[in-house]
Subunit: 78 residues, 5 copies
């Protein structure tokens, strides 16, 4: 058995870092799903809440991007 | 026992990276599911929300594609 | 104790890759479940949303197929 | 300590592969559960949605079958 | 096999720290999703609840940022 055990930790860590991407995916789905459910019940109000939709998606997506960043840092930087 | 332990870490990491794909799958399902629930209650409003449906799917799917990218990078690039 | 530890990593990784299949399964279930809930409340609108149903299923299923691909790659390609 | 460590990885991987079966089970349950909730509210519409019910179950079940296939491959083929 | 086992622990720990990011993503999605569902049902009340929306997002996001901080500390500071 050869190889660097710290190297192994980096790759397993990068894989684990996708848990954050998955959670952010669930969150984004919840924001967009509830917007669509509401917009189809009351279409005339949808344009006025478009900005809030993107605020909600952006905050949830940001947490996924941070996880992606951790995965990239683990693979290429540390 | 032989083999490179860093190699092992890559393969376990690639497997773990599907957690992100799973979460994105739940998110995409939530977006499309809520669209369908709303569109069947008020079919006349559905075409007007089609664009938002694809925006929501795209943002959730993107997080899954990022996870897939991490899995491919772990298997073939690092 | 003999055997290749990288080989072991491939098999554990392939098993872990089904997490993505599981998440996609939840997503597909959410899409089809909400379609059925809506279609039974308003059956006359169901044919018009059939295309969206398959779009939603396809996007969620794709994330599961990507996970399946990762499992196959880990078992037979890398 | 004797035994082949790659052999060990196969068996752990096959066990982990049931996570996909579990997720697909949640998905199938969601499809059939929502069908029943709707069919009991509006029984006259149920026969017309029977085909969609089986389409939804089939797509979610397929993801579980793929996981089952990975488990079988890990145990008997690789 | 060479390498520092404490180093390995840091990298696996940094990957695990994204579980917090994922959970925060689900939380942010729940806050923004329920705001949108309510705002589309009663649009005239939405501006008055905007502050509460950002309070809710901020508290959930903060927990994700703390997890991100732990991941960064594990990779670069300890």
């Amino acid at each position: 058995m050869e190889g660097d055990i710290a190297e192994m930790g980096k790759f397993i860590g990068a894989g684990l870092a996708t848990i954050g991407l998955g959670g952010a995916g669930i969150g984004v789905g919840h924001v967009a799903g509830n917007f669509l459910a509401g917009a189809l019940r009351n279409p005339s109000a949808a344009p006025g809440q478009m900005a809030t939709l993107f605020v909600g998606i952006a905050f949830a997506e940001a947490l996924g991007i941070f996880s992606f960043l951790i995965a990239l840092l683990l693979m290429f930087a540390v």
